[in-house]
Amino acid sequence: MDIYGYIKYLLFIPLLPLAAFVLLGLFGKKYAGKYAGIFGTVLMLAATGFAIYTAYSYFTTYSGGSYPRINALSYTWLKFSDTLSIDMGFMVDPISMMMIVVVTLVSLMVHIYSLGYMKGEERFATYYAYLGLFTFSMLGLVLSSNLFQIYIFWELVGVSSFLLIGYYYNKPSAVAACKKAFIVTRFADLGFLIGILILSYTGGTLDFNTLIVNLTTDGSASISSGVAHTFLGASALTWGAALVFIGGAGKSAMFPLHIWLPDAMEGPTPVSALIHAATMVVAGVYLVARMFPIFAITVPAVLEMIGWVGAISAIFAAVIACTQTDIKRVLAYSTMSQIGFMLFALGVSGYGGEAGLGYTASMFHLFTHALFKALLFLGAGAVIHYVHSNEMKDMGGLRKFMPITHITFLVACLAIAGVPPFAGFFSKEEILLAAHHHNPAIYWIAIITSGLTAFYMFRLYFSIFWSKPHHSHHTHSHREGGFAMMLPLILLAFGAAAAGFIPFGKFVSSNGQPLASHFDLQFSILPVGIGLAGIALAALFYFRQNSRPDKASAAFGTLYKSAYHKFYIDELYLFITKKVLFNLVGKPAAWFDRNIVDGMINLTGNATQKVSAGIRKMQSGKVQQYAMYFLGGVILLAIIFIYTRK
């Protein structure tokens, strides 16, 4: 295994950020002070170096055929039986290699950027410690070699993002947001955990490679047992796969589990770039991709559902994004929409060969999206840093004051709008092509969403940088941000501009065999045309300040209003939890407690009052009540069990 010599460095990639967390968490405040950021960044730089080296070695030692799936550095952690054990190991395959590069790279950019953005924060060292913990968890997640391991890291990612979103802990909205994010994703994780239990039970293993073999080989014992057990009309396998996907949908903020994402924007902006653009939110997509053969071969019905969930989320979020005025919320909904693209690309994909185009396209889009969406968030951070507001109305005409931010932001907007030759164009074209071949309905939804995407992104761009005459900002005397903040913007802008030329299909495909990407100029005309039309419309509305936007929103009336209120999904959840859950469950329980339990005390209190006031103070009557409950319980149980006895 000499050609796999590079694998031994794999261990350093997650361990370096962990070391940053431990050291900064323990000693940061006392010893590192303002150098904590430099320390964390240097460790992250080393981890990025290892990641790029490992990925480079993996893809260059490829010698024809399929890319190997290696289970490296594996050791048995807990043995249940001879066949079922929990192992800890590293999965080395094309998508995990791609992901470690994405995660370390974006994390490094955020580390550097935060040196400027978070300078002077009181808990600077703590912030870098949290960043280290998050990066470690995310790397652990993408490198996991089995379902159980991925679940542990999945939860760790949740905990560390909870800490990061709630970083401004003296801001009540941030605290509410981190709680919301945690609770909503916990519900989804519950589905994930049950799904894992079902899949590992039917598949007889937790290991991804073995599981995929067991559950995709036609006529295997695992499949027949998984199909034989049914529950509410669906087989155990279908349930398992669907529940696992629900876990993914929660983390990836897919409709209707998306409500936490916009609120999570309360965290520091660089954190949004890391968590909500490039890493955590794509975990759901990654999870589906990781188990893709099972979805594609064994349970195509679930895959189709995934496709529709993705498509609905994509257009739903795009419509809302057109109406929001908080620039980070626009980006949040845009992220949700783009993840929808990745998911329906998986949903329309088949396994192997040309049919697997959707898979390659999805991973390609994940890659390019990470670059340009991180850039957008960091750019937005620079703008917010400059004007001290998240609201579009406080911005406008900033292009003269923030030239670097302006140019890089424009590059990112062009990329996400799918204008050639920027990165987003290539990956989105592939997604549309795959959708066109397999599901025309989703294809048309995607085309409309592309137009909306171009419109809302340029609405954002024009509102920030044009719209108002630039002298309105002369009060802001400070510069647009230091070198530490500008460097990541410039680097990411190069990525967003050029990453599309990577022949992605050669590296990542559904069955591990290189897929030639091809290009159809005729096919591209419609999406690019729609995108340009969206940009033109945005220019018409927002290039100069005018009354057209108000007229348009008035013309759309109810649609605009309900989109502005995010289609009232939050209110619906509130209604369910506050009104339904609290009234149906909480209220009766409280009533029971107040009236029955406490009431008994009062009742017996009154009775014993006649006997002796002293005894009432001791509440001795209560004990009789306890005994009555006790006896009542025994009698009830006895009646039930004696009469139902067979």
């Binding site: 807990l78 003296n170 909480g586 006790f630 149980l637 006895a638 069990f641």
Partner: protein, 466 residues
Amino acid sequence: MNDLFILMKAEMAVTAIIFLLLFIKVGKGMKNEALLPLIQTLLLVNFIAGFFFNKPGHLFGDMYHTEQGTVLLKNILSLAVYLISLVCAGWLKRTPHLAEFFLLMLSALLGMFLMISSGNLLIFYLALELSSIPVAAMANFDLDKKRSSEGAMKMILSSAFSSGILLFGISLIYGTTGTINFASLPAQLDGSALQVLAFIFLFAAFAFKLSVVPFHLWTADVYEGSPIATTSFLSVVSKGAIAFVLLIVLYHVFRPMYETWIILLMGLSIITMVVGNLFAMRQQNIKRFLAYSSIAQVGFILAAMINGGPAGFAAVAYFILVYTFSNLAAFGVAAVIASQTGKENVDDYKGLYQTNPFLTWIMALALFSLAGIPPTAGFFGKLFLLTAAGEEAAYWFITIAALNMIISLYYYLRVVRAMFIDKNENPLPPVKTGPAEKLGLIICGAGIVLAGMLSWVYDYIYQMIK
């Protein structure tokens, strides 16, 4: 005769400590400052000695038996008692009757040991009484507090009632089967109506001690009123011992009535979790809060028992171990704070992190573990419980149980939020943590982290039980 001393080694050791304490008490007596370290050392020695010179066997015509599994369970209980002597050191040091307190506690422990090893319903009953009457006296130990005497009163009356029901059940069993030996009982059980009734009477006594809903009502009052060392003992050691015995009785004696008790367990498990959770949400007093949350935890323990095999047994034993660490850490922090500031409300914990970071971290770790969040050991405990239940393919049941895990997360997080995030102009002043308390809390914290990460802990338990 040699066998007697080797087989009953655990009981002998506890008895020896009891006598030693008795001599010290009736003799010159010792100052608390000297006596407490001595007791702590003895308990540590007792715990370590539990691992050596163990031999399976039985005595007194099968009335007493011991094997690998029972030794393991006794060791877990010994560890818990040792930890209580550490984390509650602040209160223990100040109590004027330290020797008596441990006399009572160790007598109860002796009762529990005998109960785990009992091979006969009569011995079981005697041991059960030995394990509960001293606890009522312990509950009364805050002599100047009315609530303490009230709690003790309620406990002794309720336990007398449950003992009555238990004896009724035992006599019915003897009446229908003609035997009270565990070994010969299974063959005689035919599931007749009278036997089902007897079983439910017996089960109710267990349910009472475990605080299973609807037999739980005494719990919160007694927990709140008792001194914190007693509360820790009740919630960890008593619960653990009874859960172990219930497992043994269900698996070995009432095995023929499996169909009955599996449904009984499922039903009570769900009611217990739901009621425990709903009530825990509303509690302000931290001891009451932990009392209801421990009721909810018992619901989970019942859930694993529906698996009638070694996986269920191992899952329960592992869970009790983890629960010991987590609950004692939580009670320990509450004890340190209560003994120095007298504050026991969740609201008093607001902003605790600013002044007492060590205590806050231990408390947070304990609460995360109780809530079952990975990678703390509590998560693995819950996971093994659910997988044990899952082998019975009771999917609906597992779903409800897992939903309850999330509900519980809500109120555990409430305390975490109070400590870390909520603002407070006047947080509690920095609290001094004595060396013994610190050691105990660190052991508990390490246990919470390591019992999950070191897979051999579960492996060891599973091997011992198989």
